[in-house]
């Protein structure tokens, strides 16, 4: 390994370690109800699903809009798996149905199961759907997400999904503990660890020979096939893996918000994630992560005032009323889509060199010396 490369890895690992140390410090110093934690947790969860969507849209060139459906599968699987049996048998959650799931599992198994169920459905749906071309694929996966949502609200499945009512009292972020002890796990750190592992796995996949095959398919399907890449197998693989991580992020979202209801996994959720991917740059993992933290911070924190009557010290309750934030937001998104279609990162990744040259460009005085 040459020096350049070694330096790169050292910088990368120290940056990642720094992030985790900061999270841990924050966890022990700030109030647990602080808005910073909401932004960090939700931002991390959205990063995972954005990265998983980027794997499909940005790296394999499959324009799929089924993300909300796979998140729903993950969220429900997790909730049903980890809800304690005593809660399942009581009237507290399953009020109108007899729950038919006689077991409960730990957090870890719940998360894995969430991913596996989403991946399994992706496998089934992928068999027919992945033979379709670009925009037909988009609409078919969108349709699939809607079907899943309708089926989960169906009252015949009530004993499993609690019908259209919500699920709660499963092992959410306030109920997780450090393994083999009763000490509560720092929730934000937990989210970051899970998301970190998943994103790392996706990055490893993209840099492997499979990842190169995915990119070849994206760039030119016919040429990739001529080079001996099995188109269908690789598309299916990418679709299943992406859905697995979408399922995991759905489970994390369930943990984050303490309740699950099929109603919230609408098409709009997929659209939001797609827009995050676009803002970050299609084909850039770090771009997706940055964009989702930015998106969540803007919508949950910095632009809050637009909904509450006061923004940047300007008081205008008639203009800044409920919903204005999202309106401003969608205008910003349109501007990005139309004028900065490459997003924050384009298809490049964040690196020290890029950062350094960016800083240098901002300070022209130093270079002209």
């Amino acid at each position: 390994m040459d020096r350049e490369k070694r330096n790169h890895y050292i910088r990368l690992f120290s940056a990642i370690a720094a992030v985790y140390i900061i999270i841990t410090i924050l966890e022990f110093t700030l109030r647990p109800t602080s808005i910073v934690f909401t932004v960090l947790r939700k931002g991390a969860i959205y990063s995972l699903v954005a990265v998983s969507m980027n794997l499909l849209n940005g790296f394999t060139g499959l324009f799929s809009l089924g993300q909300a459906g796979f998140m729903l599968l993950g969220a429900y699987t997790y909730a049903i798996f980890t809800m304690p049996v005593s809660v399942k048998q009581s009237e507290r959650v399953y009020r109108y149905y007899e729950c038919i799931v006689p077991f409960d599992t730990g957090v870890f198994i719940g998360l894995i199961a969430a991913g596996l169920v989403a991946a399994f459905f992706a496998f089934l749906i992928g068999l027919p759907v992945l033979r379709l071309k670009s925009d037909y694929l988009a609409i078919a996966t969108l349709g699939f997400a809607e079907i899943i949502r309708a089926i989960f609200q169906w009252d015949v499945l009530g004993p499993l999904t609690n019908g259209a009512n919500l699920l709660r009292e499963f092992k959410d972020l306030s109920r997780i503990t450090i393994p083999f002890t009763d000490i509560p796990f720092p929730p934000t750190l937990f989210v970051f660890i899970v998301v970190g592992i998943c994103v790392l796995l996706i990055v490893l996949l993209i840099n492997s020979s499979y990842g190169r095959a995915f990119k070849a398919i994206r760039d030119d399907e016919t040429a990739a096939e001529a080079m001996g890449i099995n188109l269908f197998r690789h598309k299916e693989l990418s679709f299943v893996i992406s859905s697995f991580f979408a399922g995991v992020s759905g489970a994390l979202l369930a943990m984050f918000q303490y309740t699950v209801q099929a109603q919230q996994f609408r098409t709009v959720l997929t659209y939001e994630i797609l827009l995050i991917v676009v803002i970050g740059g299609i084909g850039s993992i770090s771009g997706s992560c940055i964009a989702s933290f930015l998106y969540i911070a803007l919508s949950e924190w910095w632009l809050r005032g637009l909904d509450m009557g006061t923004f940047l010290g300007i008081e205008a309750p008639d203009l800044f009323r409920s919903g204005f934030r999202r309106l401003v937001f969608s205008v910003i998104i349109m501007v990005i889509v139309l004028f900065f279609s490459r997003g924050i990162m384009g298809d490049k990744e964040l690196s020290y060199e890029r950062f350094k040259s960016g800083v240098r460009r901002l300070m022209p005085g130093r270079r002209s010396r």
């Binding site: 379709l132 925009d135 078919a140 079907i147 309708a150 009252d155 709009v268 659209y271 998104i333």
Partner: protein, 304 residues
């Protein structure tokens, strides 16, 4: 058999009526796709905006003014959306245009959310259309009977326009071959704008008919009809107008038969309405797999 029809007449009637409304929306999708190869995700939201405009106008203006105003403004909305959001991306990859369409859809929904304050707005009762009538023992509104007739009349007019006018000929040429028609001196941008305006005005007519039946408008009430109309367009063979109309009627009728599942199939349960939505998409996926080009679609071959 006659008895069975008699008992479930209301389902069949609303099926035909909803089918007509979907048809009017589906034409907008299919024409735009035929020319730009773009799924205009914002079309359903244009339809919703037309509904909201009607709510606001009719509160202060008489119907004789508010209805033409809604038609005109929706037409303008379609024109503006195309000019602002799609035209700058004409040479960009298809995915970018589709993302822009999704962005417009998101924008329109959020704008509607802001202006309505998230409340469902009560749709005004249009005096002639909202009146109840009795047909063969089933009570329904006049709109149910007007819709299929109006749909057929409008489709015939549109077909005449496309077959026999200069702009119609230009549309056919552009949808056949974008680049060549440009070389032949067809003003592409004018044709595309015209297509969007036609689609939007038909969506506005559909919104008049649809919301009279449903009585309230919410920011998301355009999404479902929009998607279903799109499914209809795909089923009929995207790009083909008669295909879209036939597809829309089939989907509208099937959907309402499923909604009435409790009495038609004799299986009780309250999940039938939920299922009618799922049915449309299951149907879409099956159509795409069995016959991706739809009923009347043209086969396309990928060339290297």
């Amino acid at each position: 058999m006659a008895d069975f029809f008699h008992q479930n007449l209301s389902y069949f009637l609303s099926g035909i009526s909803v089918g007509g409304q979907y048809a009017l929306i589906a034409i907008g999708y299919t024409m735009v796709y035929g020319i730009l190869r773009l799924i205009n995700f914002a079309h359903g939201d244009v339809f919703m905006c037309a509904g909201l405009m009607m709510v606001y106008f009719s509160s202060s203006l008489p119907f004789a003014i508010s209805i033409p105003a809604v038609l005109l403004l929706t037409l303008l909305l379609g024109f503006v959306i195309e000019r602002v959001a799609y035209k700058p991306l004409r040479s960009a990859p298809r995915m970018s245009v589709m993302i822009s369409a999704i962005g417009v859809s998101y924008l329109l929904q959020n704008a509607a959310l802001y202006f309505t304050g998230g409340l469902a707005k009560v749709y005004p009762e249009i005096p002639f259309l909202s009146r109840s009538v009795q047909i063969w023992g089933a009570t329904t509104r006049v709109v149910t009977l007007v819709t299929p007739v109006l749909t057929v009349v409008l489709v015939v007019l549109l077909t005449l326009l496309i077959k026999h006018t200069k702009i119609g000929m230009a549309m056919r040429a552009v949808s056949r071959d974008f680049e060549t028609s440009q070389l032949m001196g067809i003003k592409i941008n004018r044709v595309i704008s015209m297509t969007f305006m036609l689609g939007s005005i038909l969506a506005a007519v559909a919104s008049l008919l649809y919301f009279t039946n449903y009585a309230s408008v919410t920011p998301t009430s355009g999404a479902m009809p929009g998607l279903k109309a799109f499914v209809a367009a795909v089923f009929g063979g995207i790009g083909s107008i008669p295909g879209a109309v036939i597809g829309a009627f089939i989907i509208g009728i099937c959907e309402n038969i499923i909604k009435g599942g409790a009495s038609i199939f004799g299986i009780p349960g309250s999940g039938w309405t939920t299922f009618s939505d799922a049915f449309t998409f299951a149907f879409l996926i099956i159509v795409l797999i069995v016959r991706p080009t739809g009923l009347f679609g043209e086969k396309s071959v990928d060339k290297v």
